[in-house]
Subunit: 195 residues, 2 copies
């Protein structure tokens, strides 16, 4: 079926989401007005409502998309043959993926409290899926006696917190390349789990 020639709907929608992502990350969901988002995109405030039913949906869609992307990318990671290699893959993947989408990461961790309960539950479920992946890796390594872990669940929390923390300070063009950071963190993770 032919598309309308001058339709900009396909470009305006994504631009609205991109602007909202940027602004929510910089200033926080509650502090950003629909007018600001519209100005950033170069349309009037009313126009936004052609693309989203309301502000809350805009936030939820951004977070859901981020978590789904995260899980999708994780799912296509080449499988490793040992728990140690699995953990290394996960570590490097987590740092790289999160660094490439720092705005979305920021929002997904900071704006949970601005989600309506039903939306919150759905995002939390996705986050738990992601955690579960690391839990599995650590549990396998522990069972195989290659990891020494007092508590698998806490090790999962610790590793994820540690890796996500990279986003708070890493800046492209700084003292260390992302490759170097990956390597250093991997060494710390490896040691932390007793491998």
């Amino acid at each position: 079926m032919a598309r309308k020639k001058n339709s900009s709907a396909d470009v305006t929608g994504p631009r609205i989401r991109a602007a909202a992502l940027r602004l929510f990350a910089r200033h926080g969901y509650a502090a950003v007005s629909m007018r600001q988002i519209a100005t950033e995109v170069g349309v009037q405030a009313g126009t936004l409502y052609l693309y989203t039913p309301d502000k809350q949906s805009l936030l939820f869609d951004l977070m859901q998309q981020h978590m789904q992307d995260l899980l999708a990318e994780l799912a296509i990671l080449p499988p490793a043959t040992t728990p140690l290699a699995d953990l290394e893959n996960f570590t490097r993947f987590h740092i790289r993926f999160h660094q490439a989408r720092s705005d979305a990461v920021f929002i997904s961790y900071m704006e949970l409290r601005n989600l309506e309960p039903a939306n919150f539950d759905r995002i939390e479920a996705l986050r738990r899926d992601y955690e579960a992946h690391l839990v599995t890796i650590l549990a396998r390594g522990k069972a195989a006696h290659v990891f020494e872990l007092p508590d698998t669940k806490l090790a999962t929390f610790a590793v994820i917190a540690m890796l996500t923390g990279v986003n708070t300070w890493f800046r492209e063009g700084g003292r260390l390349s992302l490759d170097a950071v990956e390597e250093i963190y991997w060494q710390m993770v490896r040691k932390a789990v007793g491998a």
Copy 2:
């Protein structure tokens, strides 16, 4: 000099700050109105302005107080005789202190972007003072060859992120006591720094 008999100024001020702390932590600075704070305290909105010049000062004061408390408590930690003992003290202190003030911690990490630039700089300086303390411990241990660290600064970030992460999941009365959590995290920190 005699105080006024029925003055409740000394109690209203702290109650306002306590309410603001709670509400900012739950819903975020931008999402909380002065009316909500006033309602929580049981006064009218206008009354708040007898105790704070504006909403921004209220946020800044809470964050500054938190950071100053943190540094003050850190300063009176009994000094240890080895870098390893120093690191253990720091680890346990960080977990305990942050757990006891989870609202203030939450705000101090999440609401930085809602500070006016001058206020932001002052809070950041305090945060760097705190980090510097851990940097020193790690650098000493590295110099004494009791820690094996590819990068002292990154290890500092990693340890603080890991420890602060406890606040995102720990709940009193859960599976593990705070003592147990402290112990498990200490083991992970110890290994991560190669000790």
